[in-house]
Symmetry: C2
């Protein structure tokens, strides 16, 4: 990492070296969202990615790397491009949010996306390890797959005449969520258990899920709140992070250059 | 610009060299939003920045560089850091959205932010010229300041007992909008005339503005639609731009590596 020309405007007490300027020349640190469609769609109205970008407004850039339909096996083909090991400041934090597709059932309509649960855990471990190789200060956070509303999923896929053979079940999503949580514990990294969290609220099936799998604005809000809580616990409190340039109230209208010195 | 390892997956017919991989190692081109609070707040619920990020999902990253309270004079202190001339792939497109603060009236509560209209135009010209130096293929788009609802502004600043001395007027915002449009014409770059566009709709004062100046979700929607229309006219049609990695439907479940070769 090299220090940028504006390094002097940043306080030095922060855990992360916020002064580091990536070779992309933009001063702000990045938070990368890596995952499947639930990440890809996170900038739709009410989306948790957009909300996160607003939470860290002027403090960090939120970079979305969501790949709809992807499982952890396919994610491994991308990861070295999304997180190169050289030439750039690593992200400040990354969310890893896979499993909804891995947990698609064998013998059903989405079996092409299925990854056995043991391989899912192993793939997640490889993803985390590659990120740790990329940076030892990056906050790496796992997010479990969300719960599944089998009825909603069937209606969405097959219409009202659902043929009652769900391609995903909530029970199976829970098995994958469990492995995700176990891996986080083994690797000593934080994990958002969205599978359990959502099911704490009555009516979660339609309150939080739009088609039995993807998130409503309310579901996005749950993810946003949990991710922010986890980032804050890891030391990334927006209000303690420096603006990339002076707040306008610090600029003297008759002598603005002072604020930028 | 160097070509990335995945250059071969991009078609060659596109005007912009989408194959270029910035040294930040992320494959996607960037659209930068440079402006004041109306840009900074563009990832709030219903925001035009978040909507733009979704429009170009998996095609381009939307990078927000909005600085609340800033005028064009202060923006000039930032611009070389936001748009460095070396070391990185330049943005695919940039929106420049200043003027709301420049147009604050002298002798009123926000006069610290005031910039004379001739200097506003000159500053905008310097910003555009610096960007053109940064890249001759970047789509550079000006956006005029929005209209002002003086009553809404007074209520927001002074409560119901408004003292009837608005710090911004719609007429003055229109003068600055006019200079913005004239500059765009002189420099042969596109301009979104949001000042006029919004006033075409009856009730624009409260339909599009939340406090007489900043945007409601409906106002954000107008900006989003106009910006997308302008980007499309400049050749940046999302549906014609390549995915950074294969769409999941192109991946053979039993032989996924083929899709990534």
């Amino acid at each position: 990492m090299r220090l940028g020309p504006r390094a002097e405007i940043f306080p030095s007490f922060l855990r992360y070296d916020f002064r580091a300027v990536g070779s992309q020349g933009l001063v702000r640190p990045r938070v990368v969202l890596f995952g499947d469609s639930i990440t890809e769609q996170s900038f739709r109205p009410g989306g948790w990615g957009a909300a996160l970008a607003d939470t860290y407004s002027r403090k960090a850039d939120v970079v979305v790397r969501g790949y709809g339909g992807y499982n952890t096996r396919w994610a491994l083909f991308l990861i070295q491009h999304v997180f190169p090991l050289d030439g750039t400041a690593p992200p400040l934090a990354t969310t890893i949010f896979f499993g909804a597709n891995d947990a698609a059932l064998l013998g059903r309509t989405s079996e092409r996306q299925h990854v056995p649960v043991s391989e899912y855990k192993e793939n997640l471990k490889r993803i985390v390890t590659l990120m740790q190789d990329c940076s030892n200060s990056m906050v790496i956070m796992l997010i479990t797959p969300p719960p599944i509303d089998e009825e909603g999923r069937e209606r969405s896929l097959y219409g009202e005449n659902a043929r009652k053979l769900p391609e995903r079940t909530n029970e199976m999503a829970g098995v994958y969520a469990g492995q995700c949580i176990e891996l986080a514990r083994e690797m000593h990294i934080p994990c958002v258990n969205i599978w359990s969290k959502m099911q704490e609220t009555e009516g979660w099936q339609t309150l939080y899920l739009s088609d039995g799998l993807h998130l409503t604005p309310e579901g996005n809000d749950v993810v946003h709140k949990e991710v922010v809580k986890t980032l804050r616990n890891a030391g990334l409190k927006s209000e303690e992070m420096p603006y990339d340039f002076p707040h306008h109230s610090k600029i003297d209208g008759s002598c603005p250059d002072k604020a930028f010195q």
